[in-house]
Amino acid sequence: MAERATPNSKTVDAPPRSCGDAGIPPRLTAAPIDVEQLRCQVGSELAGAVVVFVGTTRSKTGDQITERLEYEAHGPMATASLTLLQEEAVRRFSLQGCGIVHRLGVVEVGQASVAIAVSSPHRRDAFAATAWLMDRIKSSVPIWKREHAVDGSRRWVHGEERPGP
């Protein structure tokens, strides 16, 4: 894909790099998310703000009591899609750094299922970028969750909207 011809896309599976490196590829991982490491990675001397969003597994949706969530992805497409979103966010909100990590597999209640960290010279852009990225992730990145209820029932969560870019 021509749009992916960037430094980021070549290193999608590279291990996390040292503190302060703005070019962090997005990651899908079965391991718990190290939020502090992500925050550290997007830090920059040019940034006056770092905003970190952590999405966590909620125990209650309506009347249903959730025991755990399980995530599945179209891996290559989800990684490519997150890379494009990250690049667009950096341009659109003039970010210094941006990192996204999403869990796959089972995520217990209270654990982080997704984390986003962005840094920018001013806080408004960092807040806006984080909200924009979460909205886009929820509408366009091919990742799905399955709710496991305490009564043993399991249900894939699908909304009404057909996904798109």
């Binding site: 894909m1 992916r4 999405g55 995530y71 599945e72 992805a73 179209h74 290559p76 497409m77 989800a78 490519a80 899609s81 999403h102 299922s113 997704v114 979460m134 992730i137 929820k138 509408s139 366009s140 990145v141 091919p142 990742i143 799905w144 969750k145 399955r146 894939w156 969560v157 699908h158 909304g159 009404e160 909207e161 057909r162 996904p163 798109g164 870019p165």
Partner: protein
């Protein structure tokens, strides 16, 4: 002929309803919308979820009018729920 078979990856609730993570269709060529209809005919129990599913080739979403060919890396993506 085997070379007219289109392999389609299925995910999440779609794989669950159809009972397979990948299915194979007789395919003479057609659009993404044609593919959705063909799958609805073959798997009526999943017709409603298929109607809300997107077709992807490789790492990109298709528009309904985009052509899908045998050998393409095709996936049906039901409404996403990451985050």
């Amino acid at each position: 002929m085997n070379n007219r078979q289109l392999a389609v990856m299925l995910f999440a609730g779609l794989a669950e309803l159809v009972g397979h993570r990948e299915v194979s269709l007789d395919w003479q060529g057609g659009t993404a919308a044609d593919l959705r209809s063909a799958l609805q005919n073959k798997y009526p129990a999943a017709a409603s979820l298929l109607a809300r599913s997107a077709v992807a080739v490789g790492e990109r979403y298709c528009r309904d009018q985009d052509q899908v060919a045998v050998g393409d890396d095709v996936a049906m993506l039901p409404p996403v729920s990451g985050g």
